[in-house]
């Protein structure tokens, strides 16, 4: 654990910041697209240390934030079925659906359990053969391999009461879509955990096609500062490429085993992202081979189409077009205790991080 101290050394932080300042005085906008980075940047007070010409934007990197209300509504509908246990990562239970949250359903008696690993969900399925266990699979390439492994396990064990409700997404389509929408992004602080799985090549198109650099960053404060330095250096030298700052965890080829298990279980589909709409081939659905574990195929529920909250600008925030403080609901109606938009729910949401650390 010693690395924690070394990676938050105040003297080194000062040196890197001096170098960043000396590289350019031009306006530079850098976007992170990983909730862990959103959180770390606010937690360590990094914006307060950077020169004023370096602007950090939070992109659609928090899985809870980009998930649709319809997904939540459907999860709620599942929780109301008889003999169902919903298993989920914690943040999701507070996300507002159109008329309720999973947390509210839990208080009314729905069996909703917070777990930290899909393995816990499998354990519940083994223990309760009389119940149907639905795991709410959300997240990017980081959590998708675990969900896939869960499905393969369930298949090998011939569990017939375990289902995945997938909202898994992949990151590159969103990164491309943001640039194509015309948002000013001079560089991407590319996600660290996602890249441990995928490797660095998934970002190759971004510099090649759009002339925007990507630096895969770790999560300690010096990691992030060094990544900012590398991006600003690319801009200064007009030499855009994919670099790995987070070398102690990320290999160019990534984690082959995890990639294989994702391929084994999932297939790409078009998916809806808050703020970005439907992006082609950006979501992961369970393929034919494992369709007996697909909650959407096996368990039928009806959910009405809905109207998104008026006044909430989560969509624009996720695109880096606006900051949380520009939202009329921020701090007034929308707070971490009473979130209206999804960006206020998770620790990793831009509004939540901004509210907690930077008001």
């Amino acid at each position: 654990m010693q690395y924690i101290d070394e990676y938050s050394d105040r003297k080194f932080a000062g040196l890197i910041i001096d170098r960043i300042s000396s590289l350019t005085s031009k306006e530079v906008s850098l976007m992170e697209v990983c909730g862990g980075h959103t959180w770390a940047i606010q937690k360590y007070g990094i914006p307060s240390l950077l020169p004023s010409n370096i602007r950090l934007l939070s992109g659609p990197g928090c899985p809870v934030c980009v998930t649709s209300k319809k997904y939540i509504d459907k999860a709620i509908a599942y929780s109301r079925l008889s003999n169902v246990i919903i298993t989920t990562y914690g943040d999701l239970i507070r996300v507002p659906g159109s008329s309720s949250t999973l947390n509210e359903e839990k208080s009314k008696g729905a069996d909703i359990r917070i777990i930290y690993s899909i393995l816990d969900a499998l354990q519940i399925a083994r223990k309760h053969p009389e119940k149907r266990i639905i795991f709410l699979g959300i997240g990017f390439e980081t959590t998708a391999p675990a969900s896939a492994a869960g499905i393969v396990n369930a298949s090998e064990e011939k569990l017939t009461n375990f289902f995945l409700f997938s909202s898994h997404k992949i990151m590159p389509p969103a990164m491309a879509a943001l640039i194509e929408e015309g948002i000013t992004i001079d560089g991407y602080i590319a996600p660290g955990h996602v890249s441990t799985i995928t490797g660095s090549h998934i970002y190759d198109d971004i510099p090649a096609k759009y002339g925007v650099g990507c630096v895969i960053s770790g999560f300690e404060p010096l990691d992030i500062l060094q990544s900012i330095y590398l991006l600003v250096k690319q801009i200064k030298e007009n030499n855009f490429r994919v670099e790995i700052q987070y070398r102690r965890a990320v290999k160019p080829e990534g984690n082959i085993k995890a990639q294989e298990i994702m391929k084994e279980v999932f297939t790409l589909r078009d998916d809806w992202w808050r703020g970005l709409g439907v992006l082609e081939n950006s979501g992961l659905m369970i393929n034919e081979k494992y369709c007996e574990f697909d909650a959407e195929k096996i368990l039928q529920v009806n959910v009405e189409d809905l109207i998104e909250e008026k006044g909430c600008i989560c969509g624009d925030i996720l695109k880096g077009l606006k900051t949380p403080s520009q939202c009329g609901l921020f701090k007034r109606q929308c707070t971490p205790a009473n979130p209206i938009g999804a960006c206020m729910v998770s620790n990793e949401g831009a509004c939540n991080a901004f509210y907690r650390f930077n008001r």
């Binding site: 606010q42 007070g45 010096l222």
Partner: protein, 337 residues
């Protein structure tokens, strides 16, 4: 007495009386309780008393370094002590679930007795109820306490004397209790050596007050962690607070577990930590006195009161950045006390 608690143990009849005699009187043994009057008759040498109450529902009941019984005594003793009072008497009430094991009850009761003895409080009254299986989770405890308060310490609860420049001191590492309970839940197959910091701090606080240090405020940092106390203070007192992150002691294992699970140790519960605010001149002396006590060995000056950014607690982070510490919203960890 049988192996498990039956509904009859709360009926008020013979079986109840046996439980009282063979369990509670046996362990809590003292002249006031032994009289078994409906109300305990107490006399104190002071006309100013502190009175507090708290309920304990921690899950699991046993965790590394303690159990719900020890927690129930320490919690109430500390609530009294932080007002400047000397804790004297406590009540202990149990709500038991039908079928709860006598063996575990006895372990808990003996911990209560041990901790009461250690912190020199007398258990003078109590109650037992038994509810049907499934109507409560094994065992809940309520304790109330009375302490005597010297008039010269009245300002400690109201914190009226705080001024810019005053120093903020903590008696040791933060986050141990919350993470110990979390690890004891055996989730995600966690193995750690983190123990609860659960302890009665009345003698530590007494040492500091007896040394005539200018102490302006004391609060135990339980649920919501130290962040919650600091935010409450800034909101209530019209002051600003600055905390130096690197001065706040956190055990490596606690920090690692928090990192892994996405918790912030500033919000994680403690059961043996106090925040003290003292005059700038006396801060070093408070630290010296605390260090003599086993519960103050790792104490540290973590920050100060300022006249700037009124209503806000600002943290100077390890790398020198600045950010706000905000009140906890939602539940960080359920049922940790």
């Amino acid at each position: 007495m049988g192996k498990n608690i039956l509904l009859e143990h709360g009926s008020g009849g013979i079986i109840s009386l046996n439980l009282i005699k063979e369990m509670f009187i046996k362990y809590f043994d003292n002249p006031v309780l032994n009289k078994q009057t409906d109300s305990a008759l107490l006399s104190t040498e002071s006309d100013l008393i502190s009175f507090t109450t708290d309920s304990y529902v921690v899950d699991p009941l046993f965790f590394p370094g303690g159990n719900i019984g020890k927690l129930a005594v320490c919690g109430t003793v500390n609530d009294l002590a932080v007002s400047g009072a000397i804790p004297k008497f406590i009540s202990v009430s149990f709500i038991l679930e039908e079928g709860f094991s006598f063996e575990e009850l006895e372990l808990i009761v003996s911990s209560i007795a041990d901790e009461a003895k250690k912190s020199e409080v007398m258990i003078v009254t109590g109650d037992t109820k038994v509810v049907n299986r499934g109507k409560c989770d094994k065992l809940f405890i309520n304790t109330s306490g009375i302490g005597i308060l010297n008039k010269k310490y009245k300002h400690i609860s109201t914190c009226d004397n705080i001024i810019p420049g005053d120093k903020i001191i903590i008696n040791g590492t933060i986050g141990d209790h919350g993470m110990a309970v979390m690890a004891a839940r055996d989730f995600a197959g966690f193995k750690t050596d983190i123990k609860t910091d659960c302890a009665s701090l009345n003698f530590l606080i007494r040492d500091v007050l007896d040394a005539n240090c200018n102490v302006k405020f004391i609060r135990d940092a339980t649920r919501g962690g130290i962040a919650t106390i600091l935010c409450e203070l800034t909101e209530k007192m019209n002051i600003g607070i600055e905390i130096e992150e690197s001065a706040v002691p956190v055990r490596e294992a606690v920090r690692g577990m928090c990192e892994l699970l996405g918790f912030d140790p500033f919000y994680v519960a403690n059961e043996g930590k106090v925040i003290m605010i003292t005059s700038a001149e006396d801060a070093e002396r408070v630290v010296e006195v605390m260090r003599q006590n086993e519960y103050g060995a790792d104490c540290s000056v973590i920050g100060e009161i300022t006249g700037n950014h009124i209503g806000k607690t600002i943290l100077r982070t390890t790398i020198g950045g600045r950010r706000i510490i905000e009140m906890l919203s939602g539940e960080q960890l359920p049922r940790i006390c």
